[in-house]
């Protein structure tokens, strides 16, 4: 029956596209092929995971945040402290980071959901600032401005020891990133994920078809926080150190910038943006070490002014179409 065939195409949303598969093969190929860049690639994997977690709330649920690094930082400190005081098993540490961030996300979701966009921006910003100040003042626990020292990780699964060149750390970060990406990707094409899109597009109508809007937003905010927490935990574990910088405002802003560069609402935007951001940072900081933030700012202004639509027809549009943004979502 033709109607059945038309409707059955709904589930093709979940299908992996060729470009996606190629992308992940390329990422896997970076393990043997780009060995001398593993440290920076680890950083990219971590900030990409962080940006993807932000995309889950911004791109899918329409929640704008200026303080997403609260969860990144919570995950980093939780994982660091967990390694020092409980056990230094890396995987358990990730769970600790995720759990701490999830609890924080769940608790603050009620503050965030209350308001409209501007209120949300301010509340998320405020939460992150408060946390940053707590980490700064609670020096006995967090190491304050000197950072949390003495994070020594046991080998992963008892077998793979972290090495100085970051090879094991990179594979570890990439695998964790991939696993969480697959989870996020499933979430966004599930009934739950689609209900978030409905809420983003029209909360009034979403309620009118029976979607419990606040419950769903709390759920995705908590999930997003947990994933950001894992990203933070990865940083703590691979760097074996937690700098107070994990709670700095620029981290929240950088993640937003990555999504502006790569596009929101198709998950790969965070990755494209993270790669572009890091590459730009590397190039600009070599070229003009003192002014790299100036240039990144100028690029941001240019992107926003020229408009993502017009850029959308260029490079980024090709990315988006290949990786599945297209007409799908």
């Amino acid at each position: 029956m033709p109607s059945k065939a038309a409707v059955s195409r709904l589930s093709t949303l979940g299908r992996w596209r060729l470009a996606e598969i190629l992308f992940w093969l390329a990422a896997a190929a970076s393990v043997p092929l780009l060995t001398e860049h593993h440290l920076v690639l680890t950083e990219i994997a971590i900030i990409a995971l962080f940006a993807v977690s932000l995309d889950l709330i911004l791109g899918y649920a329409g929640i704008a945040s200026l303080g997403h690094t609260a969860f990144f930082g919570a995950g980093a400190y939780a994982a660091g402290l967990f390694a020092i005081h409980v056990t230094n098993d890396p995987l358990l540490g990730l769970v600790a980071g995720a759990a701490a961030a999830a609890v924080l996300g769940f608790a603050t979701s009620f503050l965030v959901l209350r308001g409209a966009d501007l209120t949300r921006l301010m509340v998320t910003l405020g939460v992150a600032l408060v946390l940053g100040e707590i980490a700064n003042k609670a020096g006995k626990i967090t190491g304050g401005a000197d950072g949390l020292q003495g994070v020594f990780m046991a080998p992963i699964l008892g077998r793979f020891e972290f090495d100085l060149f970051g090879h094991v750390g990179y594979v570890y970060s990439l695998v964790v990133f991939f696993v969480l990406f697959v989870v996020a990707r499933r979430i966004v094409v599930s009934p739950f994920g689609l209900s978030l899109l409905a809420i983003r597009d029209n909360p009034l109508r979403a309620r009118a078809i029976g979607i419990p809007v606040n419950t769903r937003l709390t759920a995705i905010y908590t999930i997003s926080a947990a994933i950001a927490g894992v990203a933070g935990a990865l940083l703590a574990q691979t760097a074996q150190f937690v700098s107070i910088d994990v709670l700095a405002f620029h981290r929240s802003a950088d993640a937003l910038l990555m999504l502006v560069i790569g596009g929101t609402g198709y998950l790969y935007g965070g990755i494209v943006g993270a790669v572009a951001f890091k590459v730009l940072q590397e190039i600009l900081s070599v070229w003009t070490p003192q002014y790299w933030t100036f240039w990144i700012g100028a690029i941001l202004v240019a992107i926003v002014l020229i408009g993502r639509q017009r850029i959308g027809n260029g490079v980024m549009g090709i990315w988006a179409r290949l990786l599945g943004k297209g007409g799908a979502a």
Partner: protein
């Protein structure tokens, strides 16, 4: 007489304006009931109160004899009380197929399922097929919602509500603004809505009201002005004076 939906002395004030003024109303099981009244009479406000979009200043609402005055909007939908909007409230970034997928998944209690790809359950897709065929959306399922012809958007507006399996369906001017060429299709789907769904129709178009409704309620300045069968209302001189006599509305 068995009412599914009732209000008791329902009041809604916006500052100085009383948009709903002590309205006591009943919708019978299986009703084809029209709610008419001049612009600004408070018809949409009444629907907003019934569905929980607005909180009443005072008064009660009950569904199947159960007080739902303090029940959340989404919970009322799950109890079978569903509405459409006078101004389209669609999901601009989604295709009609995705939107129906969300509505049907939600109705079947799968809305919080994050493990499964949407539309992989036959119970869900079968129901989407049914709704899409009923509302003649099969051919446009994968178009952008914003690109649909206005008549199709209006059909989708009703289809989304219908996908929630309403027992009580509140239609707020479903035909408003639909061009003549697309009107017949829309009116026909409205006429063919299942008998067991109790329907309250807000409409300015008197031809539609008379062909559809068995009962009519007239609202003027937020107050119940008249209530009766189609014949009673169309012959009521007071109604003719304040409403029908004024000619075309909307």
């Amino acid at each position: 007489m068995s009412a599914v939906l009732e209000t008791n002395a329902l009041v809604k004030k916006f500052g100085g304006i009383t948009a709903t003024n002590a309205v006591t109303f009943a919708l019978e099981k299986g009703a084809r009931h029209a709610l008419i009244g001049p612009n600004g009479a408070g018809k949409t406000t009444f629907i907003n109160l019934l569905t929980g979009v607005l909180e009443p200043t005072s008064g009660r609402i009950s569904l199947d004899g159960k007080d739902i005055t303090n029940v959340k909007p989404e919970a009322r939908v799950k109890m079978g009380l569903v509405r459409t909007f006078q101004i389209n409230q669609l999901f601009a970034g989604m295709t009609p197929l995705q939107a129906l997928g969300v509505a049907v998944s939600e109705r079947q209690g799968r809305g919080s399922d994050w493990r499964r790809v949407v539309g992989t359950k036959a119970t869900v897709t079968d129901e989407i097929v049914e709704v899409a065929e009923r509302f003649r959306l099969i051919d446009v399922l994968e178009e952008r919602t914003g690109n649909l012809a206005y008549g199709k958007q209006r059909l989708l507006e009703i289809a989304l509500a219908f996908a929630c399996k309403p027992r009580v369906l509140l239609l707020d001017e479903p035909a408003a603004g639909v061009p003549e060429a697309e009107r017949a299709e829309l009116l026909e789907t409205i006429a063919r809505l299942p008998d067991d769904v109790s329907i309250l129709l807000i409409e300015h178009d008197m031809d539609l009201v008379f062909s559809f409704a068995k009962k009519i309620t007239v609202l003027v300045d937020g107050t119940l002005f008249a209530d009766g069968t189609v014949a009673e209302i169309s012959n009521d001189p007071r109604v003719r004076a304040v409403y029908l006599g004024e000619g075309e509305h909307g």
